[in-house]
């Protein structure tokens, strides 16, 4: 079963038609790298993939579901363009939030969150800091770690390398490849050419360019 299946999807925002009768599928273990000009609809595409927005026409199936109910949301890890972190929780507590919702014991989720942050390059003392004291790049890494922490079957990332240096971007690319290797489907919208070029060398990556209401270079279907 495809992780995401678009069938004849038409969608617009702000009076602009972003998708026009698009058919597209993404399989588990694949990375779709969505690129396009500003305003081309990359964020809207992610909203559609999360089933948070309904298309004007056509049908979208995500992990076998057509509605974004809690059972589906638990299987989706998502990082927004502007990191959305709980201001009163440390970076590690933010990362551990999906694990806490899933009922994991405090010690186990703390260890898992810190390990994930360390792997992405955030040291332990920064993992214990509140978001207000983190740099923009550290906040970005925290949100990416949280998206990955839930062990989701679908990872949706909007501009994942924004605010990150080259090393950070490389770590993010490694994380996406590792997630895909574990069977997750990944959709990443990016305007970072170097990051995109690096990922596109990988066999699991499918280019996806939004252009005049069409998905050019689609993965399949």
């Amino acid at each position: 079963m495809a992780a995401i299946a678009f069938r004849g999807v038409t969608f617009g925002r702000g009076g602009r038609r972003l998708l026009d009768g698009v058919d597209w599928t993404l399989e588990p273990g694949e990375i779709a790298l969505a690129t396009g000009a500003t305003g081309a609809g990359k964020t809207a595409l992610l909203d559609l993939c999360a089933l948070e927005t309904s298309p004007e026409a056509g049908e979208i199936e995500v992990l076998g579901a057509r509605r974004a109910e809690a059972a589906l949301r638990r299987r989706i890890g998502r990082a927004a363009q502007a990191p959305d972190l709980m201001p009163h929780m440390t970076a590690a507590e933010n990362v551990a939030l999906p694990l806490r919702l899933a009922g994991l014991a405090p010690a186990a989720r703390k260890a898992q969150a810190e390990e994930l942050l360390a792997w992405l390059g955030l040291p332990a003392e920064r993992a214990a800091a509140l978001p207000a004291t983190l740099s923009a790049g550290e906040r970005r890494l925290t949100e990416l770690a949280r998206a990955a922490a839930g062990g989701g079957d679908l990872i949706l990332l909007d501009d994942p390398t924004g605010d990150l240096d080259d090393d950070g971007a490389e770590k993010v690319a490694e994380m996406l490849i590792a997630l895909a290797a574990h069977g997750a489907a990944v959709v990443a919208a990016t305007g970072d050419d170097a990051f995109a070029r690096g990922l596109l060398r990988r066999p699991e990556t499918r280019p996806l360019r939004l252009e005049a209401g069409r998905l050019v270079g689609r993965a399949a279907g």
Partner: protein, 290 residues
């Protein structure tokens, strides 16, 4: 999971960060709930005091009647007693002291009625007149009515004030609860996006507001209760022990718990509404209205 493991887990979870961030509306809720509970408790105590006052007036005057005997011999008193004691609607008869300006031979019997309506005054006067000439039954209808009306008015005023204070407090708690829920709305949306059900996200956003209102309310009601108790202990409650005191008596003390509980309920409903609206706006409906 064993009970010990459960307790250990619960303790560990209590040390975790709260699910939603604190905010000014939530902080204001505690202070306002304390003030509202204090006012509600005073007003409730006022309502009870009015109830007791009205009850005392009704008992004291509402069922009182007299029989005046022009000639108060033992025989006349016994005959009048017999008539009264065999009349339906009369609960008790006792000899009373005549007014100071009464004739020397006059005797007075105080009659307690079984019901506020009492017996048929005209028929009773006919029976008394036939048995004890000069005996007159007086149910004091001309002044009993206004007294009962004033008792009813006092009761209405007391409970009306209590109801108005309670309504104002609940509206304030609900509005601040709404503000606290709106403040926690983005956190509720985030929790839902991370996999919480809509109900769980709403609960996580609304529960702190309800707890704040309950704690603030308990503080306010506790202060009012302590004030009543201290005033009584210091002897500055002139009505103590007479049934006319402002301090709650008997089970009415339990009513102090009503204000915090009601305020918490109102805050919880307000916060739930605001959190549900935030989730709805974010498109998270879990099949409710989406």
């Amino acid at each position: 999971m064993s009970l010990r493991a459960r307790l250990a887990r619960t303790w560990a979870e209590r040390r975790s960060a709260p699910w939603t961030p604190p905010g000014p509306a939530r902080a204001a809720l505690a202070a306002c709930a304390a003030a509202a509970a204090f006012a509600m408790t005073l007003a409730l105590a006022g309502g009870w005091a009015a109830e007791r006052w009205a009850g005392a007036r009704e008992a004291g005057f509402g069922r009182a009647a007299t029989v005046v005997l022009a000639e108060g011999s033992e025989a006349a008193l016994a005959a009048a007693r017999e008539v009264l004691e065999t009349t339906p609607g009369i609960a008790a008869v006792a000899e009373a002291t005549p007014p100071e300006d009464a004739e020397p031979d006059v005797a007075v019997l105080a009659v307690t009625l079984a019901t506020p309506e009492g017996p048929d005054a005209e028929a009773l006067n006919l029976r008394l007149g036939a048995t004890v000439p000069g005996a007159v039954y007086d149910d004091h209808a001309e002044w009993r009515g206004p007294l009962l009306a004033s008792a009813r008015g006092g009761r209405r005023l007391g409970w009306g004030t209590a109801a108005a204070a309670a309504a104002s407090g609940l509206v304030v708690a609900a509005r601040l609860g709404w503000a606290a829920g709106a403040e926690a709305g983005p956190a509720a949306v985030l929790l839902a996006r991370l996999g919480a059900t809509r109900g769980e996200a709403i609960r996580r956003a609304a529960a702190p507001a309800a707890w704040r209102a309950a704690l603030g309310g308990a503080l306010g009601a506790g202060l009012a209760g302590a004030g009543f108790a201290a005033a009584r202990a210091m002897g500055i409650d002139p009505g103590a022990g007479t049934g006319l005191t402002l301090a709650p008596e008997g089970f009415a003390w339990a009513g102090l718990a009503a204000a915090p509980a009601a305020l918490a309920g109102a805050a919880w409903l307000g916060a739930r509404g605001a959190a549900a609206r935030a989730l709805g706006r974010a498109g998270i409906t879990d099949g409710r209205d989406g």
